[in-house]
């Protein structure tokens, strides 16, 4: 399957996401420049973490005006899979592709730490490789991750099973302490009504190899791959193209597209 990782000015998890998808998951992956108007025929668009446009004004508020976002919206409207991680989630909210907004973390501090999230809905293209209530160990790193939505919206999200991940403790309990950033309903990840656009604050790319502490993040990537392969299989036999990873201690020049 072919993945596209969008590069905004100030994205800084772009290469990490590329590494996880191409070098760990073995998928063909390309970078998509923020000024691009062509998504290069990818099967899934990933908006990576970072500080697009310095997060000035409001996290994700300026990135939504990038030319590439118009294409991403069209892609999503046509049923394409879009995954927003951290800053990518914030951009999807600002773009109106996902409901809710992010407030500052409850203690008003940036938080970088491993957290536990549980899969609340395992019937989405982003979570189907996991089980319902499965607990995943994935790190967060954000200042604005305190999920907020008006009560009516929250009720709808619950009713339509749009909350995919919730912060929990190691045993899957929804304790106050485990909800480190203070999100309403412990929301760590939500999906749109159509079920093809997901935003999550935890960073699966930072939990894709055991050596960096956890590989639970692979569940998300594997779900997408399985879903896309099945979809491709039912339409036309798209040869699964395995990519030979080129891993080097120094990342390639991301802007050199």
């Amino acid at each position: 399957m072919k993945f596209g990782v969008v590069v905004f000015p100030g994205s800084n998890c772009d290469y990490d996401t590329f590494h996880a998808l191409q070098n760990v998951m073995g998928q063909e992956t390309v970078f998509l420049w923020h000024k691009a108007s062509d998504l290069q025929n990818v099967d899934c668009v990933v908006l990576p973490g970072g500080f697009s446009y310095g997060d000035y004004l409001r996290s994700g508020a300026i990135a939504r005006f990038s030319p590439v976002m118009a294409e991403v919206k069209k892609f999503a409207a046509g049923g394409g899979l879009v995954l927003g991680i951290c800053n990518g989630f914030q951009i999807l909210q600002e773009s109106g592709l996902l409901p809710g907004a992010m407030l500052r973390n409850k203690h008003l501090k940036f938080l970088c730490q491993p957290v536990y999230v549980k899969i609340d809905n395992s019937r989405t293209p982003f979570s189907q490789a996991g089980r319902k209530d499965q607990v995943l160990n994935i790190p967060i790193a954000h200042f604005d991750g305190n999920y907020y939505a008006p009560p009516g919206v929250l009720t709808e999200l619950e009713r339509k099973r749009q909350i995919v991940f919730r912060y929990c403790d190691e045993r899957g309990q929804l304790t106050e302490e485990a909800n480190v950033n203070g999100s309403l309903h412990h929301i760590a990840g939500v999906i749109n009504e159509q079920g093809n656009v997901l935003g999550m604050m935890p960073h699966p790319e930072r939990a894709s190899e055991k050596i960096v502490g956890s590989d639970d993040g692979q569940v998300i990537f594997q779900s997408i791959i399985d879903y896309l392969e099945k979809r491709a299989g039912s339409q036309k036999k798209k040869a699964a193209k395995k990519v030979r990873p080129v891993v080097s201690p120094l990342p390639p020049l991301i802007g050199n597209l």
């Binding site: 800084n12 990490d16 310095g54 501090k109 940036f110 960096v212 020049l253």
Partner: protein, 736 residues
């Protein structure tokens, strides 16, 4: 006309002024005076320290670039080089904690990527006043958020460092930032202005009035007017810096750059003169072409501004257009402001008039070097003679044990570290809080280990030994992850060098560090001296901070910092001695900062480290931790607290040493290794072979920490209670 008032405002002496006149053959104008004043400031010119810094060893087998460039460079194999450097941002961080610390990070990042390296890690050494005072909390909060705000947005992980508290830092906090970068070893860029006629290009942010005379400010004591110096602090923009990084690396990869220098302290002045001086050329620039953020800036302000996120590039005329295309892709300015000349002068025009015309060598290389008077302070001998009091008969060692793990110097620093993104770039495999941080090198089995260490109390009691110990301890920290040290960068934080006692502390500490570096055979690749850490006559403790990098051959062998299983053997490498001078215990129980710093025998130290590395290499070690502040008992407690399951231990000690010294003394050259029982013998055999004292002192297990001395149970605490004390100590000051 330059009068005494103008000289005082520029922190120059009459003698220095006279030599400026001699060097340029006439009276300087005010702009030229400003240029000399920053370049000849202590901060840029190292005028009090130069004569001593020569004592550092600067050669080594892995060395590619030693002192004198923006950063040091070491060969790490596979065609790669590690580029690293430390800088202080002490003065600005006191005046404006957030921006002071943020721009400290920004400045050191530029030092690294100006060499062609991608920054892959930051470590910070922070020293604040005690947290029970609101003002100290506010400084600490500001500094930590500043580092976090800049580093996180830029996308470099902050992977380690240290945080200490003492009243001497209440009005002089220390903020030392060390950055480590990776580059291809044959693609290192230097600050050169080669090729007469080549273009001089200004890239990055516009120039404003911020930070004028920042370097001069950092070269004087603070008095009561400190508040007024706020405008001297610059404002950071990490977003622009990130764009600058990507644009510079791209331009370098495309072969569009001949020489490059960041505009840090002394801004345009420093970059133009240094690049020309190093290439034996000159430079002619037009100040009207310098991108400006504010209207009506004069030449003085343009030359001395320390606005952040700017670089100066020299390239051939035919590469100007492609270079500008790269920067414009990243939405950055790249403006030709002049050219390289052959007359070794810096010439600058403003509104058609020649306003600067000075020889670059005079500015850069002829800054006076002073051998200032030195005198050992009387207190040093007095403190060393201090007789350690007997252990009070009614002292509750169990309670002391609990209090020590909660002592802010020792307690958990997670409150700090979790505000830093320490995972971005997904290479961090040993997280902050361990003895040394380790980054994996993707695609290889190797790991890059790094540590930042200082102990100012030892240096206060005995600066030379303090200097030696800080090197030894940093190397020991690396040994605990299986790494051999390769190269050093240092940040020397001291008081006012015009005082003979301070100068003595400096000289002694430098000698100690130099000796230790020779012993460990590691070159000093650069660093920074920060004098005048003194407010209203009160100086900080002498605080040398060492950053050392090393290499781990196979990251799969790295032991954990905490216990990993029950019934594993606890091996003590090295010897317990009856030493309590300069210990945290003496401070906590007797409220004394006295005595002699612990002894250090380099041969023993090196052998202990070698045994540790060998044992790790042979995959015998499950957990490793060096013994430092708080002694053996605290080191064991930390292994227990850091174990995922809260595994306790039971240790049985013998010997004639008084119990408090055995538990909490800070004797050097000791490491705790934990191994599966069947492997403990192999570690002991390794130690015997290298003539290192080693002993199985107990085993892991249970939910309690228990220590026996001479068949008497002297310590027994539940892991849970100790863990809470360790973890909650610092957050409780900040109410989270």
């Amino acid at each position: 006309m330059i009068d005494d008032i103008a000289l005082a405002a520029h922190n120059l002496t009459r003698e220095e002024y006279d030599s400026i006149v001699r060097l340029i053959g006439r009276e300087p104008n005010l702009t030229e005076l400003g240029i000399f004043s920053v370049m000849w400031s202590e901060h840029c010119g190292y005028k009090s320290s130069k004569v001593y810094l020569k004592k550092f060893p600067t050669r080594g087998k892995y060395l590619i670039q030693g002192p004198g460039e923006n950063a040091g460079v070491m060969d790490i194999g596979d065609g790669l080089a590690v580029v690293f450097k430390i800088e202080s941002h002490n003065h600005p961080s006191y005046i404006e904690p957030y921006q002071g610390a943020a721009t400290g990070v920004g400045g050191i990042l530029r030092d690294i990527f100006t060499m062609g390296a991608r920054p892959v890690a930051v470590l910070d050494s922070l020293r604040f006043g005690p947290l029970d005072k609101p003002q100290n909390r506010s400084v600490a909060e500001g500094v930590v958020s500043g580092i976090s705000g800049y580093g996180n947005a830029f996308g470099v992980p902050t992977v380690g460092g240290e945080v200490y508290f003492h009243d001497c830092y209440s009005q002089n906090p220390l903020v030392n930032v060390c950055c480590v970068g990776l580059a291809e070893k044959d693609k290192i860029f230097l600050a050169r202005a080669q090729g007469v006629g080549n273009a001089v290009i200004y890239v990055g942010a516009k120039t404003g009035r911020d930070g004028i005379h920042g370097a001069t400010m950092a070269s004087a004591e603070f008095g009561k007017d400190t508040e007024q110096k706020r405008p001297n602090v610059q404002v950071g923009d990490p977003f622009k810096e990130k764009l600058l990084l990507e644009a510079c690396l791209e331009a370098m990869a495309k072969g569009l750059i001949i020489g490059i220098q960041d505009m840090g302290a002394a801004g345009l002045t420093c970059s133009t003169t240094e690049m020309a001086a190093k290439s034996d050329t000159g430079m002619e620039i037009d100040l009207d072409l310098v991108p400006q953020r504010e209207e009506g800036m004069n030449p003085y302000e343009i030359m001395l501004s320390e606005s952040q996120e700017r670089m100066l590039i020299v390239t051939s005329q035919d590469k100007v257009k492609p270079l500008q295309a790269v920067f414009s892709k990243w939405d950055l300015e790249a403006v030709v402001i002049g050219k390289v000349t052959d007359d070794r002068q810096l010439k600058a025009h403003f509104h058609g008039e020649l306003v600067i015309d000075i020889p670059v060598k005079a500015v850069v290389d002829l800054c006076p070097a002073y051998r200032r008077p030195v005198e050992a302070p009387a207190f040093v001998r007095k403190l060393a003679r201090y007789k350690i009091p007997e252990m009070p008969a009614d002292l509750d060692l169990n309670q002391v044990f609990l209090q020590l793990v909660a002592y802010p110097d020792i307690a958990d620093k997670k409150w700090v570290f979790r505000q830093y993104d320490h995972m971005v770039q997904i290479n961090t495999i040993v997280l902050p809080g361990g003895d040394a941080a380790v980054l994996r090198l993707k695609g290889t089995k190797k790991g890059l280990a790094m540590t930042l260490d200082g102990n100012s109390l030892y240096a206060y009691l005995n600066p030379k030994r303090g200097g030696e110990i800080v090197v030894a301890e940093a190397c020991r920290n690396l040994a605990c992850v299986g790494a051999a040290p390769m190269g050093v960068t240092n940040c020397l934080n001291f008081g006012n060098p015009e005082k003979p006692e301070i100068m003595w502390q400096f000289k002694e500490a430098v000698e100690g560090i130099a000796r230790a570096c020779r012993e460990f055979d590691i070159p000093v690749t650069g660093g920074n001296v920060s004098f005048y850490n003194e407010t209203e006559g009160q100086a900080v403790f002498p605080t040398p901070v060492l950053g050392i990098v090393g290499l781990v051959d196979d990251v799969a062998t790295i032991p954990a910092a905490g216990f990993r299983g029950e019934r594993e053997a606890i091996v003590l490498l090295g010897e317990n001695k009856e030493e309590l001078g300069g210990s945290e215990y003496l401070r906590l129980v007797f409220d004394q900062e006295k005595g002699q710093a612990p002894e250090l025998d380099f041969n023993k130290e090196k052998s202990v480290q070698e045994v540790c590395r060998q044992a790790i290499k042979q995959k015998l070690v499950r957990t490793a931790h060096d013994i430092s502040e708080g002694g053996l008992a605290v080191a064991l407690a930390e292994c227990s607290i850091k174990s995922k399951k809260g595994i306790g231990f039971e240790v049985k000690l013998n010997g004639p040493i008084r119990t408090d010294a055995l538990l909490f003394g800070e004797s050097q050259s000791r490491i705790i290794l934990v191994a599966k029982e069947k492997n403990a013998g192999k570690i002991l055999a390794l130690a015997r072979k290298m003539k290192v004292k080693a002993k199985v002192i107990g085993k892991t297990g249970g939910k309690k920490m228990v220590i026996w001395h001479r068949k008497k149970k002297v310590v027994e605490q539940p892991v849970e209670l100790m863990r809470d004390a360790f973890k909650n100590s610092i957050p409780r000051y900040f109410k989270i």
